[in-house]
Symmetry: C2
Subunit: 547 residues, 2 copies
């Protein structure tokens, strides 16, 4: 039996696009003599479709696609994910299903038993969990057909009361199929492989795992579909961040790749993966929304330089407009550094000095502010003038404004709402400052794109004379380390202090994080690359007493 694994990029709600792509893959698989072609979880319709799952138009679209796809499943079987109606008369309206198609028809539907509802997942909002499951029989083989989380109840403490593989195992399946929509985070791969290996070691049969690739606003799927032998050995892993179709022959209990296997690095480096993820995140945002051109403010600092370089790589430098918005406090080297970036990356640029506009604000506010001394108010005005100028150019020319805030400053609220926090998409908002520097070094791996001086100079917002980030913030190495413990590792202040960090510093940082919830609430969606990004995955109350 030959299995085709189709790792594709879907567009939420775009049935025409998804269906055509799926049908094309079915025909390609047929030509390559596959017996079964396997697509990802919720491939029809795309994932996460959120409350579109509550609309009749979306569900009708899914059913129509299914019928069109089924019609092409002759001389080949197909496993594909989609929402199906729950007709039992109780529970949520839908199941998260894997549909088995053959002879032009639905032969079997397996519903997901374990529904993730944590971090960015809220599947119980829409889906009823299955109470029972059973193997799919095809061409004399028994297939343990599972959906993503169904294989993830393997380690203690168990998040779910049951383990659907226990039931499937009783039928002695010949192999396991897991269709998934498993988002990327830079440190997730090892856990993914280990989890799948655990199941295989219990079952002693091969496993194929088919993931999606593609970005949907904040969430990025990395693909890297996996094939494991009955012994739990990693036989193959498919492309990262790219579409891919591969073929495997099932021989008794062995599974053999039918194309060359690229040797795998056991633990791929984080930064190149993040780089790939962000490029896909930018590309898919623009492609799936039908946009072409990006705009951003270029300060001469590291954050905007890295975002500009990423945008140029993702969209082509001809589609990137970098705007220098110097104020009276911008140092000459900042302008030079920004222009170096423009030269290195080949993007377009404009320069608009903001001082005359800042003066107009100062005059307008004079009667109200009387002679009160300048404070962060005046700094915020500069940031908001820049935001307004960038949005004006975006409005006039149809650019999409990229947000350049990093995770460190987003965490502690070191940014101006409606100013530098503006933008349609946060490109590096899930990267700590230290990671931004690492990414800059990686971008420069074949030659300087991010200017040397941008990398070596001390970070500054340049909103008042001689300002440095270190005036307001702890040194980034320390700040990022504490933030990582608090955000990614969800440690308490006490836990973090016990790791050896200074008590006053930890409390100050945590207080800054908690008091910036209102800012992050109004920030743009952020490309997610870590295990705990700001956004849907971390939902904190705004009106609350934080200790």
């Amino acid at each position: 039996m030959i299995l085709a694994l189709a790792q594709l990029n879907y567009h939420i709600g775009n049935f025409e696009h998804n269906t055509a792509k799926i049908i094309e893959a079915i025909h390609t698989a047929k030509k390559n003599r596959a017996d079964i072609v396997i697509f990802a979880e919720l491939a029809i319709g795309g994932y996460p479709a959120k409350d579109l799952l509550r609309t009749a138009a979306f569900l009708t679209g899914c059913q129509q696609s299914l019928h069109q796809i089924a019609d092409h499943c002759r001389d080949i079987a197909c496993i594909i994910g989609m929402p199906t109606p729950n007709t039992t008369g109780q529970g949520k309206a839908l199941f998260n299903s894997a549909v088995f198609l053959a002879n032009g028809q639905v032969q079997h539907t397996v519903n997901k038993s374990l529904l993730p509802d944590y971090d960015i997942f809220d599947e119980y909002r829409y889906f009823e969990p299955a109470n029972t499951t059973s193997c799919v029989h095809y061409q004399g083989k028994k297939i343990a057909l599972t959906i993503c989380e169904d294989l993830w109840n393997a380690s203690a403490p168990k998040l779910y009361a049951k383990n659907p593989m226990d039931q499937l195992q009783e039928e002695n399946p010949d192999f396991i199929v897991n269709i998934a929509a498993s988002p990327f985070s830079y440190n997730h791969l090892d856990e993914r492989i280990t989890t799948l290996q655990k199941q295989v070691k219990r079952s002693q049969v091969p496993l194929v795992y088919v993931n999606q690739i593609g970005a949907h606003t904040d969430v990025i799927f990395d693909g890297r579909s996996i094939v494991l032998s009955a012994e739990g050995n990693l036989i193959d892993m498919m492309a990262s961040f790219d579409e891919d179709i591969k073929y495997y022959r099932l021989e008794k209990s062995a599974i053999v790749p039918l194309q060359a296997v690229i040797p795998l690095k056991p633990s791929p480096d984080e930064i190149p993966l993040i780089h790939q993820a962000l490029l896909l995140g930018i590309r898919d945002y623009f492609k799936k929304l039908g946009f072409k051109k990006a705009i951003l403010g270029l300060s001469g600092g590291i954050d905007s330089a890295v975002v500009a370089a990423l945008a140029c790589e993702a969209l082509g430098p001809e589609n990137v407009m970098a705007v220098l918005l110097p104020s009276a406090y911008s140092s000459s080297h900042s302008i030079e550094d920004a222009l170096d970036l423009v030269r290195n990356s080949g993007c377009r640029h404009e320069i608009i000095p903001i001082q005359p506009i800042a003066d107009a604000f100062e005059q307008g506010l004079g009667p109200v502010f009387k002679n009160l001394p300048p404070d962060t108010t005046e700094e915020n005005i500069q940031a908001r003038i820049r935001g307004t100028l960038l949005m004006a150019m975006a409005n006039k020319y149809g650019y999409i404004l990229l947000n350049t805030s990093n995770k460190s400053e987003g965490a502690v609220g070191y940014g101006t709402l409606y100013g530098d926090m503006a933008g349609a998409l946060g490109i590096i908002g899930d990267l700590y400052k230290i990671q931004v520097y690492q990414l800059a070094a990686h971008i420069n791996r074949n030659g300087e794109i991010i200017p040397h001086n941008t990398i070596v100079k001390p970070p500054s917002a340049e909103l008042r004379p001689g300002q440095k980030d270190s005036d307001s913030l702890p040194e980034y190495g320390l700040l990022d380390a504490v933030l990582f413990q608090y955000i990614e590792n969800e440690k308490s202040a006490g836990d973090i202090i016990a790791l050896g960090f200074d008590e006053a510093l930890v409390k100050r940082i945590i207080s800054m994080v908690n008091h910036a919830e209102f800012k992050r609430f109004q920030g743009p969606p952020i490309l997610r690359v870590s295990s705990k990004a700001f956004g849907n995955g971390r939902v904190m109350p705004l009106v609350a007493h934080y200790t």
Copy 2:
């Protein structure tokens, strides 16, 4: 047996405040000879605490509060809601529990069986549902102790596989207690009463239902705790939008109020309720965050006038700063109308003309825009200048900026991100334009506060000469009717057209709603008064193909 129902306003994470308030109520109840005092769902710690429920500090705070409260439960029993740890070794980390305290100790813990996970609710993110439940025995009585949603599986199609009351009913309880955290929406009361009546009619015993009051950012609890007789008659309803403690004697199967009962209107008018809800929403936002002073832009139009009036009523006019920000396109009547509102409401005001700043932007952008004709870009610049000026005054003086957008314009994206969409809290963002007018009339019920001319003139954003809302938008009566079907009633385009609305109009409106998701994503939290508000309760994908 005397029951005390304590309907209180909690502050999320403020254990000191909540615990003191709860203990005070226990002592008040004791003085009034109550045998049991009953508090709301998740009273300790507050609700919705969101991901604070994942932090050790919050859970420790809950346990410490519990011990302090238990210590006061001598000569009186207490039923109170809180999160408790799930120690079964499987499932989510917490239960949503009702704890029964007597003799200074926890006597019994009942865990919630049915966990809402729809609209603004995401309880399965945190809590494991109970598999089983049983009555609490106290002073010879059997209490069917339930938590909010536990009583809400009464009508078909059933959202949950089981009904915890079925199990409790087998024990022949003497009365039903339901502790709740049931948010306000203006049309929810009838459904609430009907649902509770259904349970009572099956059980044939009295029911007491204790709700929270208070606002937590967007979510507003209305109180209105309910007492039903064994026959399902509405015996009493407690205060709306205010704290309240009331006493009831349980006599065999009868339940008798021990204080005067205020005759109830069967269906209270919506607008006065919305008015009360918004006042509480504003007050609690400021009080619970420790703020005093609000700022807003006053255009002379209906939206900002209503928000100003509400803010003055909620916070005192001396704490409200209304800023007139006229441009070249502001009509003279707009300034007069705004000044009339200032006079009527007694708030403070400033006037800052924006034209010089708009000119500075025009000059700055001149070389980039060359001679391109003006379009919405220039309108957005005006809105963003206003947003920047208001934020500058907020930053300088510690004001909190109130957002004045209504639901109609939020729905169709008729507003400028970072401009008039700025603000910490959306006050009327869940009111359609028609409802804003109705609220204005209600605010004027004892004399003019909202100026007559503000009410009668045609709505205009005044961003270009002679502009009217009706240039860009359908007439509000029609727009709001279609929006209500699409948003509150979740009808499809086809359904709405079948109601008799023009096809082209419906499709245009729905397309506008779908294409404004990216704007709403970055909008402020909105005080929720309807059954489907923008925000947590309606989660749509940004990158998607909308049909």
